[in-house]
Assembly symmetry: C2
Homo-oligomer: 117 residues x 2
């Protein structure tokens, strides 16, 4: 498939599976909304292909922010998610990054080394 | 908050946290797209309120399908998610149900008894 959406989740902070799922859903939706604005044709093709979503993990905030910088530079729609921190985390904790839908091949040059969550 | 989106995840099938997160992201996005079509004013208000998302669990497919019937009857946008089954699950396994955004109070009459994932 030519397009995919990716969510990268911080693995260095403690979150339960419900918390992770909620943060990933936020990221997927926010990045989708960005993409609708900036790259509507990518979204259309991605939907037709069956809207592939991949959930990856990362070991530090620094690495996550570095990836955000690189996807920004490529012009890929993305959205960094911050938790309100009412339950498990400190308020304002960055939990994950949603990217795309964006072209798979180009995206893999930036995130291809990351492992599945 | 007057509106919320809910994703109900089957707790009677075995899924890893990455699989759960991907299924919940599918459900959140698919239900959002339904809502945009059928209830754009609910979506707008929900976005302004900060797009609250709640992830719940359920113990059987039968109970999940019963809830789908009830939210349909109320006219709430929703989306039942089926996994392609390439990895952890049998192809075609129903994994979760996304509902809304929809009015919180009315929705709670149907799903208020369910526990957080």
């Amino acid at each position: 498939m030519k397009y995919k959406q990716v969510v990268i989740v911080r693995n260095d902070i403690k979150m339960g599976k419900g918390k992770i799922a909620a943060q990933v859903a936020h990221a997927a939706l926010a990045s989708y909304m960005e993409a609708i604005k900036r790259r509507p044709n990518w979204v259309e093709e991605w939907l037709m292909e069956g809207q592939r979503k991949i959930i990856l993990k990362i070991n530090s905030l620094e690495e996550l922010l570095e990836i955000k910088k690189r996807v920004e530079k490529e012009g890929f729609p993305n959205s960094l998610i911050t938790d309100a921190g009412l339950t498990e985390l400190e308020p304002g904790t960055i939990t994950c990054l949603g990217i795309g839908p964006a072209p798979s091949e180009e995206l893999d040059k930036i995130i291809g080394h990351l492992k599945l969550l």
